[in-house]
Amino acid sequence: MWQHRELIWNLTVVDLKNRYQNTALGFFWSLLSPLLQALVLYFIFRHLWGREQDFAINLLVGIMCWQFFATGTSSALHTIVGKSNLVTRVYIPRQILVLSNVLATLINSLLTFIVLLLIIVVLLGHLPVTVLLFPLIHFIYFWFIFGAGLLLSSLFVYFRDLNQIWQVLTQVLFFCSPIFYPLSIIPAYLMPYYQLNPVTQFIIIYRAVMVTGNLPSLFSTAVVIGFAIAAYLVGSFTFSKLERRFAEEL
């Protein structure tokens, strides 16, 4: 992969330029949608959980965290089918297409998280020191999404309704993640299953690190690293198996 770094970077830039349609305001449009979503959820649910500590900030962190996963996977899903020319007409290692797409989402999400940090400083008055762990956690999250992207994009070549299925699944996952409600409302007997949701663990860690200033628990850390490795192994194994017939199926 390293010897292809220029190609990866070029494709990432193309992706970003196409996403923002070459407009300077492009990034702000992509920021507007999660902010608006957070605002709406805040006004609906503040009566219920408004008294929870840092409800507004936690909501924002949850949304931004969710956004990276949702856009990352759904946009990576289309990469191989969408760039079929680069698969059938020329040879480049195909994982590059997925990688550069997820990298573009990563850059976008880094920008949104910078804005988020500014908002936290304004609302909270300070930033916890543990925020220094953010790059590491974001990298693990990125790797998890890359693995999921490899799996989804290669399956999508064979199952063209996967995008619809994935849309429904992410919707379900959104409500199964502690984004707009506190973890405490989950009944104890459901908790073990609930915690299997990788996004939940990521959100818990991001909140610990960015808002409360606690170190993430060993359990959460182990779970997310495990998820990232598992997603990458499964994704890249499936991808390399299915890749052999990409050019025939497209």
Binding site: N85, T88, R89, V90, F159, D161, R244
Partner: protein, 255 residues
Amino acid sequence: MSAIVVDNISKKFRIPHEKKNTVFQNIVGLIKRQFSYEEFWALKDVSFEVNKGEAFGIIGRNGSGKSTLLKILASVLYADSGSVAMNGKVASFLQLGVGFQPELTASENVYIYSSILGLSRKQVNKVYDEIFDFAELKKFENMKLKSYSSGMNVRLAFSTAIYAVPDTLLIDEVLAVGDEAFRKKCRDKMNQFKTEGKTIVFVSHALDAVKELCQRTMLLNEGRIVTMGDTEKVINDYRAMVQQRTAKTSSTRMT
């Protein structure tokens, strides 16, 4: 020294009676047990070698497996059995201008396309002016590609591609682009590559172009090698084969 060694490769395509493209269709197919498909061999037991610095032609009728073979050489498709060994870096031109972005400028596209073909930014900087001079598009380098005419598009793609040629070059019918003057420039460039000692594999229907460029040629029919050797002789075989076939079909029509 061989640049390409192809050893006994075969490629089978499966054509399902009913194309199943979705999860739903696959589940229905599983329940009804409809997984019938037809198999056909696009290539069967094909072996050959191309020497370093040689121009090698592949001819044959439509559906004879030429393009499949070239795609396998380009590692876009995988052979079901047999092996392919390529020595040196390979650039494949199955289509020109792969990955061109209409929303970006010509100059940006040159960098992107070059990196797809395996050139680094530094290497492009060195030949950047030559690319635009060869394409005769210096005036339009900062124009968005979507404003280019199709002719300009092809010229830009070809000019970029020829500066990315490493050791071996795989070409599928892409010489037939642009007007007569530009085609002449392309032919000259190909001959120049030959004298520079680059290896060329050339798939074409244009027999004259094959005759001009290639020392050796291979004739494929229904996925098998019919003859291989001196270009002149192989082309004569091909013409005889086509004539025989047309004679046969017209005689069956008579009776």
